[in-house]
């Protein structure tokens, strides 16, 4: 059965004032003043776990506090439904689609079941990702404003799956993508909404220096020496072996340690294999710290990022790359690959340094270690960039602007 998620109300808008300044928070209230009691429904497929749920858990209370009558609905389905949507997800990222043709009927049947249970009567309806895409059937006589919010990179979708989804998407009033590179040529207007992080979440809030130091020491990392860190799943697309090779080059010039921290090895056979390869490549170097962390490690990740000298993200492919956003928010100089959403965040030589190879990554790290004043400036500018574009409050502002625009357009 589908559920309406109770609105979490732990953080208040005023809590963001010390980070953003009074005028910025006041502006959110000004923008919302024309939207008081306007109804909004957000629909997605999970209340907990995953980036979309993480964003909605913060965004919904903020919009509610701003005076919008917002509801968050979560669709449900059997294992067969989620196997199909997982297959959709992989296929939309360019993989093959091996499910039988009748899987599309099963997908639509679950959409129909959920659709009949959830009354879609709000003025603004935001449907997140492909799982509930067929909810657009609930629209009657062009009522309400229906927007499809796509959090997936659609740059190279499997034609079978995209061929099935595209006609549904074209029935909406618009679509939102996280990057122009992730979008498709559609018949409907497309808007750019960056993903965002919450600066008050456990993963991003300020930490006491003692906690940062204590966490480093608990993992056997020397807080007094240079620390290079990549936070990511043990996944070949994150190129952890490339990071080890870049570190080995840097180590010829600088005394430093490498931290590779992430999860995914425990429940993923490929992750386990990658972890073994990384351990082998590091050749028992005591300065390489490989940390396979459980999912509940937000504070540890926060501390590792804050304790680092440089944050690395040497991905071969990437979605938006929120680990980069997290590093920038912590005023860390970032060296990252120019893939996916990373160049949207790392403006080369302004908010970080981009690289295209192992050698390039090593060179940029050496450059920053030799030029700490530049590293400090990049970190400072990186944080400023995140503050204005990639925080949850920026997401709220974009939704307010979208709603106002849709009202003005009609």
């Amino acid at each position: 059965m589908s559920v309406t998620v109770p609105t979490p109300l732990l953080v208040r808008l005023d809590d963001y004032t010390p980070l953003l300044g009074e005028p910025e928070v006041a502006e959110l209230r000004t923008l919302a003043s024309r939207l008081q009691l306007r109804t909004v429904q957000m629909v997605n497929s999970t209340a907990m776990g995953g980036g979309v749920a993480e964003i909605l858990n913060r965004l919904v209370p903020i919009l509610q506090e701003l005076g919008l009558a917002i509801r968050w609905e979560v669709i449900t389905g059997g294992n067969d439904f989620f196997e199909i949507t997982k297959a959709f997800h992989n296929a939309l990222h360019g993989g093959p689609y091996t499910m039988p043709p009748e899987s599309f009927d099963t997908f639509l049947a679950y959409n129909e079941q959920n659709r009949l249970r959830i009354r879609m009567e709000a003025e603004f309806i935001i449907i997140h990702d492909p799982q509930p895409v067929a909810f657009i059937r609930s629209r009657r006589d062009h009522s309400g404003h229906w927007i499809w919010r796509c959090h997936i990179d659609l740059s190279h979708p499997n034609p079978t799956v995209w061929g099935f989804l595209e006609p549904w998407v074209n029935r909406y009033d618009g679509a939102i993508f996280s990057s122009a590179a992730f979008a498709r040529h559609l018949r409907v207007p497309q808007y750019l909404f960056y993903p965002s992080i919450d600066p008050l979440s456990e993963k991003n809030r300020d930490l006491e220096p003692e906690l940062v130091r204590g966490t480093l020491e608990r993992f056997g990392i020397d807080p007094e020496r240079t620390i290079l860190t990549q936070i990511s799943r043990f996944d070949r697309l994150k190129d952890p072996l490339g990071v080890v090779r870049a570190f080995q080059i840097v180590k010829r010039y600088f005394d430093c340690q490498l931290v590779l921290a992430g999860g995914g090895a425990g429940d993923d056979p490929e992750g386990e294999a990658v972890l073994s390869e990384v351990r082998e490549a590091s050749a028992n170097d005591p300065d390489v710290h490989i940390l396979d962390l459980p999912p509940s490690s937000a504070t540890e990740i926060n501390a590792l990022q804050r304790g680092s000298t440089i944050i690395i993200q040497k991905s071969l492919r990437e979605g938006f790359g929120l680990t980069v956003t997290e590093g920038l928010w912590k005023s860390k100089p970032v060296v990252a690959s120019a893939v996916g959403g990373i160049p949207l965040q790392v403006i080369h030589k302004h908010t970080g340094l981009l690289a295209h190879s192992v050698e390039g990554t090593a060179y940029q790290i050496r450059f920053l270690l030799s030029n700490p004043v530049i590293a400090e400036r990049l970190g400072r500018q990186g944080r400023a960039y995140v503050r204005e574009h990639f925080l949850i409050t920026s997401s709220a502002k974009r939704y307010l602007a979208l709603f106002l625009h849709l009202l003005d357009r009609h």
Binding site: P23, E27, Y191, L192, P343, I347, H389, L400, A401, L402
Partner: protein
């Protein structure tokens, strides 16, 4: 203290970014895009980008120059494009014409480079503005100062940078009001001289507040 006949009405503008289907993968395509993209696209990549990147006070001018430098590795053309100062333009058509001219001249003189693939494509976006009045107005210089202290970045950008296109004058909303409603022409000129390329929005705003303070309490 003089009271104006017309108050200064503070407003703000929030911008949505719309993805168009126009993409440039080399300088030749950039030239074509500059010919056919919408005015809101030119606005987005020049006026609006100054707001998005205002904290970069060195080496960032507009999206076209940044892309030509970072993705095409053409520093000479990038410098020319970066040197176009939006304060010199009263219309987007004139600004577009100069961008197009500079890119065209480069492509004609460097036909091989014009067709070389960029590292990253350039996506043409459009800025869709939503204007909202703030519950603040100023009838006197002191009230203007009080209002300035409470302005967000977006509101300040709206009055100080985007205003030129609205006014069709080489000035901004503050200077225009100071000169025309309070007869403070010298202060208006000083405010208008503030360099928006080497200041952040915060530092430009603080400079204006400082100038107003000096006028209030010389």
């Amino acid at each position: 203290m003089k009271k104006a006949e017309q108050p200064f009405q503070f407003k703000t503008a929030s911008y949505l970014t719309r993805i168009t289907n126009q993409v440039a993968t080399n300088l030749k395509r950039l030239r074509e895009g500059l010919e056919t993209c919408s005015d809101t696209s030119i606005f987005n990549h020049t006026f609006q980008t100054l707001s998005r990147h205002h904290f970069l006070t060195q080496g960032f001018s507009n999206d076209f120059a940044q892309w030509v430098l970072a993705a095409c590795n053409r520093p000479e053309l990038a410098e020319h494009l970066a040197s176009l100062d939006i304060r010199d333009y009263l219309s987007l058509a004139a600004l577009r014409a100069d961008f197009r001219r500079l890119v065209s001249e480069y492509c004609e003189q460097n036909p091989q480079q014009a067709e070389q693939s960029a590292f990253e494509p350039f996506y043409f976006y459009e800025a869709i503005g939503v204007e909202v009045p703030l519950q603040m107005e100023a009838w006197t210089l002191r009230e203007l100062r009080d209002g300035l202290q409470n302005l967000s970045h977006a509101a300040f950008h709206f009055h100080f940078i985007a205003s030129r296109l609205r006014l069709q004058l080489r000035t901004n909303d503050f200077s225009f009001w100071l000169a025309s409603c309070l007869d403070l022409a010298t202060l208006a000129r000083r405010v208008n001289r503030i360099d928006i390329y080497t200041n952040t929005l915060e530092s430009a705003l603080h400079t204006i507040i400082g100038l107003v303070d000096r006028e209030l309490d010389p």
